[in-house]
Amino acid sequence: MSDLLHLLWEPTLQTIAMVLVSALISGVIGTALGVLLVVTEEGGVLSAPWLCRVLNMLSNIGRSIPFIILMVAIIPFTRWVVGTSIGTTAAMVPLVVGAIPYVGRLVEGALRGVNRGVIEAILTMGATPWQVIRKAYLSEAVPALVRAFTVVTVTLVSYSAMAGTIGGGGLGDLAIRYGYQGFRLDIMVATVIVLIVMIQGIQFAGDLLARHFERTGRAGAIAMLQRQRWWTISPRTSSWVRWGTLALLVIGVGGTMFHVHSSSLHKPLRVGVNPIPHGEILREVMPILEQQGVHVQIVYFNDYIQPNLALAAGDIDANLFQHVPFMDRFNRDHGTNIIAIAKVHIEPLGLYPGRTRTLGALPDGAIIAIPNDPVNSGRGLLLLQSAGLIKLRTGTNTGTTLQDVSENPKHLKISELEAAQLPRSLRDVDAAVINTNYALAAKFNPLKDAMLLENSASPYANVLSTVPGKANDPRILALEGALQSSVARQFILKKYQGAVLPAF
């Protein structure tokens, strides 16, 4: 239980930080956008139809980009703003950018709900356009604006779940990593409960505030509290609320900036990993590194592309998740220059039973799933060839594709799937070639359960990678030493029971 709370604590804080900061910043900018959409339209108090058309178009474009794509697409912008493209702070940037047009539209709707006559009345009193915006539009729309911001905040909570893609952490990432990919039902349920509590809280607070500002009668929870004299919001204290909100905003933004600034001062060694087993091995050797004064920050990735992109961009200093054939191919495809500096371990690729339990029982026309990334796909085919199930015209070369199958006596139907999906596909296939990290997460014991396993001499040892400029960084050298230490060896052998083997 305490283990669960410990696991939940940091992601919860990360989610709160991401949502709070992005809600505040997108709230301010989005409100400005919403106001402009209303006042610049033809006949508005600051009529500028061309500007209105441009803003409308931008809002529509912004609204139509799926968040997950936006997050990756604006990586250069993110790096320009906060200095890095991964981590919780970096995740705030796409959250803000994605939320601005959304906030803008909701604010526009709220302001259009203000009686047109009130606007005309204040104009006849000799109001400047700015006074019309501040004293009529914004003040009169407060209840509607509060409701709009409630919706935005709730939406940001769900958007923040995708932050894991760029190492942003948070509850959504926890649920995906441990709950979905790691088959830890308890964590998934706990995460969902925390999210429900969070969203209920936001909605409750939003409704309470909106009803308070509606100024109709005295019904509602705040009025109830007022009657009991626990808490009073008079016009005087509402100016406190206003200044308090402003202070919160300043603290939020300032805190973020300070966080970004200070973290670049400390300069921890940032190492990108897949959570299992790479992350676990790295965590195990961190005390050794701390003793040497090397502070390591582990950045978790759930895919195989981002860790290398982040490394090439300088967002992380090293990564540990890949083998050399994959790295070579990545360098070729992306024009990067990532180098391997140390073999750490090998995770043998295995063929795991689905509808068919043994190799010999595989029927004619059996369906076999293999990973769909180019390297592991070829590696899977080589594994199948090693058991004589198929024959490849390229022999034992790496970089093999499905088109290279020259003999298939059992008429196997080989289908390629996203690596992380393979354990979940087992009900629907006869067998699947699964990377050990995903097999372990799915509670397989590779030594016992695999129908077929790569042997430990495989060229596919996982390596610590970095870029040439950092290869001689003493901290990287310290990392290399720690990963190839006896502590690491003992940990790997004991923890993984031979399913993962030291490769040094």
């Binding site: 005309e120 009345a121 006849t124 004293k135 003040s139 109709t216 009668g217």
Partner: protein, 373 residues
């Protein structure tokens, strides 16, 4: 330029100042067109109106007569296509920026739906025009307190509009419109949504605004009772044009146009007489008359004197007696029986005693016989 001393002046002084001051509101030839599909139609056509300072000027018309368009042109929410609007001697169309905003404060507008700000308390609503004008908070508080006291709203200062009755909301709206000490108050249908008692108190309040604060009031309405109760002069609007304008007594007692007569609910001739007559027998040789009295000519005195003096019968079919701008007026529809000679002399007697007599000539026995049952 107007100043406090003028605004605070007693009604008697005002009479003198009218002669030398420019009109508070001057509408010159204003025309406004609206597009309807591919056609343009005139919402108002060549409106000319001059409202002297200190006057309560009514503008009355049925709905669709162009009242709203007129209001929007006067309050400068829309520019007329032709002609110009001068408020207190200034043409807003010639101004822009801060000059325009400051000139707008010379005209207070009370809209039909009031348009109070829901998010502001009564005091904050009244303070709004002062805030917009950039007064210091201390000045604003002082002025707001003064206005709330004047309008009897001190106890409501910290309440929100949604917590007030219709009459109270109306008072808040008037107080707000007067916050910047405008020369002219434009009031749109001030009594349309109120019960009779509240209507009377709101109208009385408007009269006090004129009498005690010296503000010229332009009252746009479709309700005759409001015009009767407080207006000095009235303009009758029909199909976008002013068809009749003059002192209330003249226009309402001697309506010159059919529109005014329709507004008054009379002058519809024989059919109306038949309606009031009902199933009653008509005496042979009797005539029907419309009698109007005003002020000191107490109606009943004249009628009883007539009956004592001449050998005639007089049956009252309809009587409408009430207040018109603080003096009594009477309107009677009567059937006068007797010798035609005596009838003529009786009419002379009534006219000599200040009654306005109108013979309903179209009435005849033949028409009555032909009336469908």
């Amino acid at each position: 330029m107007p100043n406090d001393s003028r605004r605070r002046s007693a009604p008697d002084d005002r009479a003198a100042s009218v002669l030398i001051s420019p009109p508070a509101v001057l509408l010159e030839n204003i025309t406004k067109r609206y597009r309807q599909g591919s056609d343009w139609s005139n919402a108002i056509t060549r409106i000319n109106l001059s409202v002297s300072q200190g006057t309560i000027q009514g503008v009355i018309g049925f709905s669709g007569a162009g009242k709203t368009t007129l209001l929007r042109c006067i309050s400068f929410l829309e520019l007329p296509d032709e002609g110009r609007v001068l408020i207190d001697g200034t043409d807003l169309a010639q101004m822009n920026g801060e000059q325009l905003r400051s000139a707008r404060r010379r005209l207070g507008v009370v809209f039909q739906q009031l348009h109070l700000l829901r998010s502001r308390t009564v005091a904050q609503n009244v303070a709004l025009p002062l805030e917009l004008a950039g007064y210091a908070p201390a000045t604003i508080n002082e002025r707001v307190a003064e206005l709330l006291t004047w309008f009897g709203l001190e106890a409501k200062a910290d309440q929100y509009p949604s917590q007030l009755s219709g009459g109270q909301q109306q008072r808040v709206a008037i107080a707000r419109a007067l916050a910047t000490r405008p020369a002219v108050l434009l009031s749109d249908e001030p009594t349309s949504a109120l019960d009779p008692e509240t209507t009377a108190s709101v109208l009385e309040l408007l009269r006090r605004v004129r009498d005690e604060l010296g503000v010229t009031i332009l009252l746009i309405t479709h309700e005759l009772s409001a015009v009767r109760a407080i207006c000095d002069r009235v303009a009758v609007l029909d199909q976008g044009a002013i068809v009749e304008e003059g002192p209330v007594e003249d226009v309402l007692l001697r309506p010159a146009t059919r529109t005014t007569q329709r507004l008054l609910g009379r002058g519809l001739g024989a059919d109306r007489v038949a309606d009031y007559l009902g199933e009653r027998e008509v005496h042979a040789g009797s005539v029907f008359l419309e009698l109007q009295f005003l002020g000191k000519n107490a109606t009943s005195h004249v009628i009883s004197a007539l009956i004592r003096t001449f050998d005639v019968t007089l049956d009252i079919l309809r009587a409408d007696i009430g207040e018109l701008n603080q003096s009594t007026y009477g309107f009677l529809l009567v059937e006068l029986g007797g010798h035609s000679d005596t009838q003529e002399r009786s009419i002379g007697f009534l006219e000599a005693h200040g009654a306005i007599v109108k013979r309903i000539d179209s009435w005849s026995q033949a028409q009555r016989d032909g009336r469908p049952e």
